[in-house]
């Protein structure tokens, strides 16, 4: 049985840990607020982008002249998986759940004879996937120095991806990230970005039936729009991810703080019992000694 001194030390160390997790929770809460508002602020752009995309894609239709970025290369042999995770750990199942989704997808594709490449964004996901897929991993995109994810970061990643596409190094690109639903719920999501899934026009918009004039013309605009759409989708994923990461960290740290509290209670109880036992033993010894005289 642990001595009183051991117990006292343990209580002190658990208390110190609790202070750290508590502080981390509060930091995550503050960062979450910022990340959430950034994600919300970026929403109008991607929504409008979707609307414009849907509009134009429907206008151009499935005509043979549609650019490859929209219609696909016509094969689905080579896949690129862009896996966005966090740069830091201690955020519950956040990184591992995204990595798990990506791993399942990669295994499935490999099993059906496709070629797979993985572009990890963020160190943590790369670490997890390295053990199984080290030969098909590309260089990790490092965002550790980046405090607030900006559009430029997404544009850089998009450029890498588009250059690869231009070199025919993949046919289909899928983006993995965690969608932020709430502090307690983040959903790992896979989204195909090349060729993009065009949102169906809702009935209202179609009824409006506006026929656009295009300047210079549809294909030119589409050429410009499609690469940009890739960047926007990646940007959105990064923002969702950073909000999710902070949310996951916040709830993980909240749990840790509570567990530490429970542990302290338990240890304190044991400590008090032992102190009592010791006092009782001492008393018995004194009484026994006195009686013996």
């Amino acid at each position: 049985m642990a001595s009183l001194k051991d117990l006292r030390n343990r209580i002190a160390s658990v208390k110190a840990t609790q202070k750290i997790t508590k502080a981390m929770q509060m930091v995550a809460a503050a960062k979450l607020r910022r990340a959430q508002s950034a994600a919300e602020a970026a929403r109008p752009y991607s929504q409008r982008m979707d609307a414009v995309m849907a509009n134009i894609a429907n206008a151009v239709g499935d005509s043979a002249g549609a650019p490859k970025l929209l219609a696909g290369t016509g094969s689905d042999k080579q896949h690129l998986l862009i896996v966005c995770t966090a740069e830091r750990g201690l955020c519950g199942g956040f990184n591992s759940s995204i990595a798990r989704l990506a791993r399942l997808k990669a295994r499935e594709l490999i099993a059906s004879g496709k070629q797979v490449q993985i572009l990890p964004v963020g160190k943590k996901g790369a670490d997890v996937l390295k053990s199984e897929f080290s030969d098909i991993m590309m260089k990790t995109v490092d965002l550790r120095e980046v405090k607030h994810v900006g559009y430029e970061n997404a544009a850089d990643i998009a450029k890498t991806v588009l250059d690869m596409f231009a070199d025919d190094r993949f046919d289909v690109a899928t983006l993995f990230y965690s969608e932020f639903k709430s502090v307690i719920s983040q959903i790992p999501t896979a989204q195909q970005i090349i060729p993009p899934q065009i949102p169906e026009m809702d009935a209202d918009a179609e009824a409006g039936g506006t026929i656009y004039d295009y300047e210079p013309d549809e294909t030119k605009i589409l050429d410009d729009l499609l690469p940009r759409n890739v960047a926007v989708q990646i940007f959105r994923a990064l923002l969702e991810n950073s909000a999710s990461e902070q949310g996951a960290r916040m709830s993980a740290m909240d749990n840790a703080t509570r567990n530490a509290g429970e542990m302290i209670d338990k240890l304190t109880l044991t400590f008090n019992r032992q102190r009592q036992a010791k006092i009782t033993t001492e008393l018995i010894e004194i009484i026994a000694g006195a009686e013996a005289l």
Binding site: R48, Y151, Y214
Partner: protein, 133 residues
């Protein structure tokens, strides 16, 4: 009072401006385009330049935008810009940085057709810089 329409200027980071406007001028690729209410639906890409807006309450503002689209419908104009800042915050250092980036992108490009696109983009930037700064 003239008819108004909804004007929105959105950059990837945020919604920069939203409200009822009387007239908007957008720097379309084939020349500046003044838009009033009930304009025919047009979709155009933008060259680097100034978007100027006269809001319904009489406020006039100008924004520098770079890369993007304008989606014009009879009752709304939406400018989707890759980069947008208020005119007042635009400095010549910022422009120089932009131009340098554009030059680098052009030099890195191998495809001749794409190179021409970069070149014309660069020309537009330079022209803007000469005329406005």
């Amino acid at each position: 009072m003239a008819d108004t329409f909804t004007f929105e200027l959105v950059s990837p980071e945020k919604l920069m401006l939203s409200g009822a406007a009387e007239i908007v001028t957008v720097p379309a690729v084939e020349g500046d385009m003044g838009v009033l209410s009930n304009h025919a639906p047009v979709m155009t890409s933008l060259r680097p330049g100034l978007v100027s807006v006269k809001m319904a309450d009489g406020d006039e503002t100008e924004y520098f935008v770079k890369g993007g689209f304008a989606d014009i419908t009879p009752d709304a104009v939406t400018v989707l810009a890759e980069f947008a800042i208020p005119r007042g915050e635009l400095t010549s250092e910022m422009m120089a940085g932009q131009r340098k980036a554009a030059e680098e992108a052009m030099n890195a490009e191998k495809d001749e057709n794409r190179k021409a696109d970069h070149q014309s983009y660069l020309d537009q930037l330079t022209h803007f810089e000469e005329t406005h700064l």
